[in-house]
Amino acid sequence: MKPARTSLRTWLLTDTPASPRQAALGRAYRRWRRFSSNPLSMLGLAILLLLIVVAAIGPMLVAQDPLQQVLAERLTPPGAAHWFGTDQLGRDILSRLVYGSRLTLAIAMLVVVLVVPVGLAIGTVAGYCGGIVDTALMRVTDVALAFPKIVLALAFAAALGPGVLNAVIALSITAWPPYARLARAESLRLARADYIHAARLQGASHPRILLRYIVPLCSSSVIVRATLDMAGIILAVAGLGFLGLGAQPPSPEWGYMVASGRNVLLDAWWVATIPGLAILAVSLAFNLLGDGLRDVFDPRHGG
């Protein structure tokens, strides 16, 4: 087995790749090596993979029903029967956490999926077109950046009513400006490049250049930013849930679980503490992953 393995490695790491695919694979392999040499980044990746696995198949593995109230077993501390204890309605916290992981993941992904394309679109158009288009779009972005995120999300939720979708909309409205800024900075830099001019000379239309050239080149920094932002979005979603504005009971949304543990905090600490730890773990994982990715894509970043 050894000779085949080393020859694959040499093939990937060669200084003279024979095809674009080989070069791309080689670059991806090098990046993976750098990423995996950092134990913290791998920890972040591990936690996220665990989250995905739990969200995907966890509900099938968990024995207890997250919605089932067994009042006789209210507020049992963590132990053999209930690994993370039960809440004041006798519901098993572990299974609620597992089911809630789907909500957390779904909401965070939804926000990112909404926000990144919009921000990218605005930013790349602004940077590429320059002039008055740039100024106008950037003013709008600046204005949007100056608003307080959580407070605006609260106001929106107040008007739209509580619920997952409304929470997503509310957060998305204030989350796009950083991506617009980022994309603009990158595309400003790239729009002056010679190969863009060459593409224009060859007859490429503006939309084609934007989509096929500029957007892919911005993508690495956008990916890094999005990963780091996810941590904040998870916290914001949990915050909204804490205030009762996210998924409604009896949905096992993690932020709401923490809130419901407030009243029994002094006697049954696990009801509020454990869901909070879960939020912490996921947020931390995104931060670690994002730091690792930034290190790989942009090693100049200080220290």
Partner: protein
């Protein structure tokens, strides 16, 4: 830079060419202020009038009498075109009329005047702690790059962006209040001391010192200690991370080598030269940190029953008190915007390179 040199510089800048440039910059800044604030007004208007199915019900609640309903409808101008409605709304706001709260039956502006100082006191104290600990930590982490201090700073920075603030607040209450009894519990002051001290600055701590009421001060302090520490944690994380990043960038610059080649003691190289170059960006970061704390207070005050604008907003939310919600949003939003634009202005005034 001393006050004298500052004044001399301003006078020197009044030379015609510079004067025009400054005038333009000022006009630009004011334009941004107006546009951003109008944007905020537009958003709150939109939330209040356009999103609810029946904006009058949203404002009056569903138990209003028919005549009150009709009067409100007229007042809001709901039969007029959108632009007119917005103008009416904007005019009201600029005159300080934010409507009447459903819950307290007071004008919202009066409610906010009552509660905002509590939030400001909390945010200010937390920011002071954040600066006092976070900035030196960041400098130390940059100077002793990749050593223990640096790793500690990075862990704190990581924690500051991963720990949910409402959860940390609860854990703080659990540990320091319930188990260790180191601090007082929720609330700003024990009921027995409430009202004992005249409100002069809005800060209970300062007011009680000014009145010489040491018992009140001690009690107020033991109530603010925990919420301020929780918020300060995030301040420290953010400020130390920014300071470290700025300092690392400066320490690799050539002028630092020159300063060392001059034989200056390392302390002077770090503080007078490197830190001197980040002082202005750091000020803007501090202003931003303050604005983040205002936001963080929304989630924290409810945990500590701290009677600030955060509690007011969340209470209004739970009771569907639309005027109060929007009024609070406007005030917090306006403060946020003002701080953001202030940082922009600070940068332009103080950095010699941007002149």
């Amino acid at each position: 830079m001393s006050a004298v040199t500052f004044i001399e510089r301003v006078r020197a800048m009044s030379a015609h060419r510079d004067g025009v440039r400054i005038g333009l910059a000022l006009a630009h800044w004011i334009a941004m202020l107006v546009i951003t604030f109008t944007g905020l007004l537009a958003i709150t208007f939109f939330i209040g009038r356009k999103i609810p199915i029946d904006p009058v019900l949203a404002i009056l609640g569903d138990r209003a009498s028919a005549s009150a309903y009709a009067a409100a409808r007229l007042r809001l101008g709901l039969d007029k075109p959108l632009i007119d409605q917005f103008v009416i709304y904007a005019r009201d706001v600029l005159h300080g009329n934010l409507g009447v709260s459903l819950l307290t039956a007071n004008p919202v502006i009066d409610d906010i005047k009552r509660v905002f100082p509590a939030t400001l006191e909390l945010a200010t104290l937390s920011t002071f702690i954040g600066i006092a600990i976070g900035v030196p930590l960041g400098v130390a982490a940059a100077v002793k790059h990749n050593r223990i201090v640096d790793h500690i700073a990075r862990v704190i920075g990581l924690a500051g962006s991963s720990v949910p603030v409402f959860w940390l607040a609860l854990m703080g209450l659990l540990l320091f209040y319930a188990r260790l009894h180191w601090v007082s519990g929720p609330g700003r002051i024990d009921p027995v001391y409430d009202g004992m001290v005249d409100t002069r600055t809005g800060s209970l701590l300062i007011d009680s010192i000014m009145a010489g009421e040491w018992d009140v001060f001690r009690n107020a302090f033991s109530h603010i200690a925990l919420p301020a520490s929780v918020l300060a944690f995030y301040s420290i994380a953010y400020l130390s991370r920014m300071t470290r990043s700025f300092m690392l960038e400066q320490l690799s610059q050539e002028y630092v080598t020159t300063a060392r080649a001059k034989g200056l003691p390392e302390r002077r190289v770090i503080w007078r030269h490197a830190f001197g170059n980040i002082a202005v960006p750091l000020l803007t970061v501090i202003a931003l940190a303050y604005s983040y704390l205002l936001e963080g207070s929304v989630l924290t005050e409810i945990v500590f029953a701290w009677p600030g604008i955060g509690s007011y907003l969340t209470g209004a939310l739970l009771n569907a008190d639309m005027n109060a919600v929007l009024g609070s949003t406007l005030v917090i939003g306006a403060t946020f915007i003002a701080l953001n634009l202030l940082t922009d202005a600070l940068y332009r005034v103080f950095d010699p390179r941007t002149r």
